[in-house]
Amino acid sequence: MASHRDLPVGLVNHLFQNTGSSSFTEFVGSYAPDLLPRRDEVLATPIGDQVPHATTIVAATFAGGVVMAGDRRATSGNIISQRDVEKVFRADDYSCMGIAGTASTGIEFARLYRVELEHYEKVEGRSMSVQGKANRLATMIRGNLGMAMQGLVVVPLFAAYDPDRDEGRIFSYDVAGGPYERERFDAIGSGSIFARGSLKKLYRDGASADDMAMTLIQALYDAADDDSATGGPDVTRKIWPIVSVIDADGFRRLSEEEVYGYVQQMLEARLISPDGPIAPLR
């Protein structure tokens, strides 16, 4: 294991003596800036199409919490580069983030963001407020703007349970930051237009977590139906979307079996009506 002993004495002291803010990102930025997601370098040509992209993420609130789901496809241009990629990440006990756009940058963000939240929690002895969490994520996205202009765009969707309000909250971002709080539901990624249309028709106020998980799986299917970069349920390989539920009991990622239950139900219904459930006209 490499450790502090590889570091010059001055840096070891820095660990102890430079007590700044409770932000891990700020600390690491002054201590070892090369560990942070790349910020300022500008590439000669945009390489956006050559690195894998993650696509559709959907999230919706329910009574007392929030559900987030993501498909499993990563694409490089018109090539499917991975079929079982994970793009919904647990951030802490009460929040999660999904990423769309450049997969590598997104995964790096998710990893750093988790440490950021935990670091604050351990140092301060309390967890960050939901708005604080959303703002920290916005700062990280803003820092990536230069790379985004070069085609390495990453956009997260953030969902958290707010214990003060006893409800789920959803925040979305653009490449320049955000955060924009969303009522009820939101979707990001190339399939998001189709998913959002689907969610608009299927969302019900005050629904259960169970119903909302089903709604998100329907929305992802609709996105995959019309967007080639979004993957549908892979029946032969048994690869299902990732579904995470956050409520007062904390973050929970549904098991393969649970998700399969929803997927099977949906697929059977789609055999009869391929466009899915029909919303009432009046």
Partner: protein, 273 residues
């Protein structure tokens, strides 16, 4: 600075005496293994200023002595752990690495500074099995002790360690381990600290992600009720591990927040500084 000559031996002895006296003023903290991991117990009148803390996924920290000094060690440890976990992988952060960092820092301050730190620290790491558990006790001069089963530190540390040694058994249930810890922390015939003045935390190997869990409020009271029902029954059947949902959302102020911090940071006038 004093005028005249003092031998290096004398200077070191004086520093060590000074640190020992400072540490002995506070109350003790007990760390011990139980069937599902490692338990920390500290009498602590403050609810906000902790003697026990999470450092990383599997690593906990407990300290006695001067609050500002061990708080600095705690922050340094969290930074060390978060940096290494982010640079490599979460599994690459080890209790041994952290103990070494603390040891070198404590040792350097002991030899180079006029005043050594008045702290004693435990770094504990929970493994997947009880064989993987580790408890390192570090003293003010940077010595590291690899403890087996249990460790006591602070004022009356020897007496507390003696009582721990008598009662400690391998693979105790959580309630039994808490009972043993409280008995060890209480002088024979003395009164146990009330619930509101106990700081209790565990590293529970059965938890997901982060193993550290502070036991407070109703959960701690339930656990204490279990201990008083069966006072140190040696053959108590292993109780089922307590359900451990993620830490409760931050709550508002409690009913009786004592205004004082852990001993050590309160200047009682007896400090030579």
């Amino acid at each position: 600075m004093p005028f005249g000559y003092a031998s290096p031996e004398q200077i070191m002895r004086d520093k060590a005496d000074y640190a020992r006296k400072g540490i002995a003023r506070g109350r003790s903290v007990v760390t011990l293994q139980y069937v599902d991991g490692i338990l920390f117990v500290a009498p602590n009148p403050s609810r906000a200023l902790h003697k026990i803390s999470e450092i990383y996924d599997r690593i906990g920290f407990a300290a006695v002595g001067r609050y500002n000094e061990f708080e600095e060690l705690r922050l340094g440890g969290i930074r060390y752990a978060d940096i290494n976990g982010y640079t490599y992988d979460r599994s690459d952060v080890t209790g041994r690495g952290l103990a070494n960092l603390y040891a070198s820092n404590l040792g350097r301050i002991f030899t180079e500074s006029i005043k050594s730190l008045e702290v004693e620290v435990v770094v504990a790491e929970v493994g997947d099995t009880k064989e993987g558990d580790a408890i390192y006790r570090l003293t003010f001069d940077g010595s590291v002790f690899d403890e087996h089963g249990f460790a006591a530190m602070g004022g009356q540390a020897e007496a507390v360690a003696g009582r721990l040694k008598e009662r400690y058994r391998e693979s105790m249930s959580l309630a039994d381990a808490l009972e043993v810890a409280l008995t060890a922390l209480t002088e024979p015939g003395g009164e146990r600290p009330p619930v509101g003045q106990l700081e209790v935390a565990v590293l529970d190997r059965n938890r997901e992600h982060r193993k550290f869990l502070r036991l407070t409020g109703a959960r701690l009271e339930r656990l204490l009720a279990q201990t008083s029902k069966s006072p140190a029954a040696p053959a108590a059947p292993p109780t089922t591990p307590p359900t451990t949902p993620p830490a409760a959302p931050p709550q508002g102020s409690g009913d009786t927040p004592p205004p004082t911090g852990p001993e050590g940071d309160v200047d009682d006038g007896s400090s030579p500084l």
